[in-house]
């Protein structure tokens, strides 16, 4: 040992205290403290960083809830770009990959490799996604879903609407008519995915504000580095499953920057959409240019209106806001009615009995599309497992529940869907 240490000194190591056991041990401890300190500093800075991000609410002049809502309504932001973190947690059991919720909807389209916006939209109904948005006036919009080593982009430039899926190198093309008659087509198509942005979500929630809702300004917050007011919207109806909707409104521009929808049962927010970066400058013009790449498979969408009518639902509205679309009661399906109003509204429709065994499956699909739950099961059998038997004045049926939306499908093929408690559904069924 001693000889070895001597050897080291000769060999030019930085041993100044070699040979004295106590000093040597101390020096060793000091050296090992360096990596520990580096790791500690890193851990501390991560902790302090997140603490800084969550605290430090900005000081803003007081504002009443009415003034804030007016500010949102008046907001006229024509140009912006940014990143949005969008997470949903409907409380559905997570499915093995391959039969994901999105995959089921894709299969429903009956076309292999369909990259139409509607099919893609249902993928947003579960998990966490990063979206990037860019807007320049009413005619130029872009929305991309950032995926692992791939991206799904929806680009609108004038009357041209392109959807590009880089993972499969497929393009979906359609034209958005300029005239007013075609507005519904444009809504459902070109802006289908825009339903996921905090602005659209906030607008839908504020549209539902009425006597049945309590609205309050609840302090301030920093969102994407900007000062914002927090607006809390709470349904008064006891049977609603919606606990509270919180909207962070940019203090300068009145743009909603963050949207959180919490279930009454507590836990993680059901929907959480927030800008992580936002820029109110004009996005570069090339952002909205798109030419289909060489070799890409292009599907043209000429017959959109017909297809939408045939489906009996407007996908743009159905999927835009899981749950809330059902509340606002929007659908053109035959035999469709809305029971109750505002937050406690329940969608009711009938599934034709002649579908026989497939009735359940179709009902599930109907529930997903028209009810706005944004879910559709890969097959009826799998979905049946999630249901539980109930009986009441209406006879008996199956009740399917998520954290926000509950659905009752009676054995007669009557479907009741709403963001209300199970008891309210049973009471509403006749």
């Amino acid at each position: 040992m001693a000889r070895n240490e001597a050897h080291q000194s000769n060999a030019g190591s930085e041993d100044s205290a070699a040979g004295i056991p106590g000093a040597r041990g101390r020096r060793k401890a000091v050296r090992y403290a360096v990596p520990v300190a580096v790791a500690g500093v890193a851990a501390a800075s991560i902790g302090i960083g997140s603490a800084l991000a969550s605290s430090g609410d900005p000081d803003l002049p007081k504002i009443s809830a009415e003034e804030l809502i007016a500010k949102v309504a008046e907001s006229d932001v024509q140009r912006m770009s940014g990143s949005v973190k969008f997470s949903t947690d409907l409380g559905l059991p997570s499915l093995p990959s391959g039969i994901s919720l999105g995959g089921g909807a894709k299969g429903g389209e009956g076309k292999d490799g369909d990259v139409s916006p509607q099919a893609k939209l249902t993928e947003l109904a579960s998990g966490t996604h990063t979206l990037r948005v860019a807007v320049d006036g009413p005619d130029k919009q872009r929305l991309s879903i950032v995926e692992r080593a791939a991206e799904y982009s929806l680009i609108r430039n004038g009357d041209q609407v392109w959807a590009y899926d880089s993972g499969s190198n497929t393009v979906h093309h359609s034209t958005a008519p300029h005239d007013k008659a075609g507005k519904s087509g444009r809504d459902a198509k070109g802006e289908a995915l825009h339903g996921a942005s905090p602005q659209e979500l906030a607008k839908k929630a504020l549209d539902a504000v009425g006597d049945s809702t309590s609205v309050a300004v609840d302090g301030t917050a920093k969102v994407a580095g900007r000062d914002a007011y927090q607006l809390t919207v709470k349904p008064k109806a006891a049977e609603s499953t919606v606990g509270a909707v919180r909207i962070a409104v940019d203090a300068k521009t009145g743009t909603p920057l963050k949207f959180t929808l919490a279930a009454k049962s507590g836990g993680k927010p059901v929907v959480d959409a927030a800008f992580t970066k936002v820029d109110f400058g004009r996005p570069s013009a090339s952002t909205f240019d798109f030419t289909p790449p060489k070799g890409a498979k292009v599907t043209e969408d000429k017959d959109f209106e017909g297809r939408a009518g045939h489906k009996g639902a407007r996908p743009g509205e159905a999927g835009g806001m899981p749950g809330l679309a059902g509340l606002t009661g929007s659908s053109g399906a035959p035999g469709f009615e809305v029971l109750g109003k505002d937050w406690a509204s329940i969608a009711h429709f009938t599934v034709p009995k002649d579908l026989g065994k497939a009735a359940d499956k179709a009902a599930d699909k109907g529930a997903g599309k028209a009810g706005g739950a944004g879910k559709s099961a890969p097959d009826g059998g799998l979905f049946e497992k999630f249901g539980s038997k109930v009986s009441g004045p209406f006879g008996s049926g199956q009740i399917f529940s998520t954290r926000l939306v509950n659905a009752l499908i009676t054995d007669d093929g009557e479907v009741y869907v709403g963001a209300v408690t199970k008891d309210a559904l049973v009471a509403a069924a006749k």
Binding site: G12, V38, G295
Partner: protein, 295 residues
């Protein structure tokens, strides 16, 4: 720099020789790494991957068919037939999860433990060079290998891609079309990001290498840690620890191909690699400068 040197060699001549000698240590270490047959074999295997991928894609699409239209296989595979430049990205995506880090793990694990095993480490220490500087030289040579290995894959892929497939303007992930020149620049940036992604495992391997006197044990441990981290990274239940695993953000190199470039994950990756390099680099220093070198 040793105490003896400080006292005995204040002469101007020695001071002038100093920077040269410092460089020569780094040069000789890099030479040692790249002269090994083992290293050349590793680089050869890495260069063969794009060739295999390119030929496979060419054969499969020879009759006008397409590959990966369902989005299966390594990232960017469906684009390769349209633009040879995408073979660079596909090859890097295919080699980054395992091949590249394994090669780095072998070189890093071998760096000190291999010298100790063959009995050459003490001769290295006989030279008037501080242990810290020797360690730095070893780390530098490993990092140079990271860059070289990545460039070998990228250049081989570019050559194969140019031979087998057309080249031209490329469409980025976001659907924006850019010129071939900018595409090449982005490919270079991607290769740089991939090389930096390997810094974490290089430092980890170097630290493991200071713990043992067996080169094989150090390589196996480093590669074992890599596999463990990759497996842990797959389980959704372990989400809480995943952002701190060194392979977690590896695929973020693809974010260079978005328009505009999506920096969040890229920067997360670089920060994480820097943290690993700092923690395990200093741990290796603490261990190596205090351990008894008997072999």
């Amino acid at each position: 720099m040793s105490r003896a040197e400080r006292q005995a060699a204040p002469a101007p001549a020695a001071r002038e020789a100093y920077p040269l000698r410092r460089l020569s240590l780094f040069r000789s270490e890099i030479g040692t790494v790249f002269r090994r047959w083992r290293t050349l074999a590793l680089l050869g295997v890495l260069a063969a991957v794009p060739v295999l991928v390119g030929i496979a894609v060419k054969v499969e699409t020879g009759d006008g068919g397409t590959v990966g239209h369902g989005g299966e296989g390594p990232a960017f595979l469906s684009q390769v037939t349209n633009n040879g430049l995408f073979l660079v990205f596909t090859s890097l995506a295919a080699t980054l999860p395992f091949f590249l880090p394994m090669a780095v793990g072998v070189v890093a694990g071998d760096s000190l433990a291999g010298e100790a095993a063959s009995g050459t480490l003490r001769y290295l220490l006989v030279a008037p060079v501080g242990r810290t500087r020797l360690l730095l030289a070893k780390l530098t040579s490993t990092l140079v290998f990271c860059l070289a290995a990545t460039m070998v894959v990228a250049v081989s892929a570019l050559a194969v891609g140019a031979l087998l497939f057309p080249l031209g303007d490329i469409t980025l992930l976001s659907g924006t079309t850019v010129s071939f020149g900018e595409g090449l620049l982005r490919a270079l940036a991607v290769a740089g990001a991939v090389a930096l992604s390997l810094a974490g495992i290089a430092a980890l391997g170097l630290f493991v290498s200071t713990l043992t006197n067996s080169g094989i044990a150090a390589m196996a441990t480093t590669v074992g840690l890599l596999i463990t981290a990759q497996i842990v990274d797959q389980f959704p239940q372990l989400e809480a620890v995943q952002p701190y695993l060194f392979p977690h953000y590896w695929l973020s190199f693809a974010d260079v191909l978005r328009q505009p470039v999506y920096w969040d994950q890229l920067l997360d990756n670089f920060r994480l690699q820097a943290l690993y390099a700092a923690v395990f680099g200093s741990a290796a220093w603490a261990r190596f400068t205090t351990k008894d070198v008997t072999a």
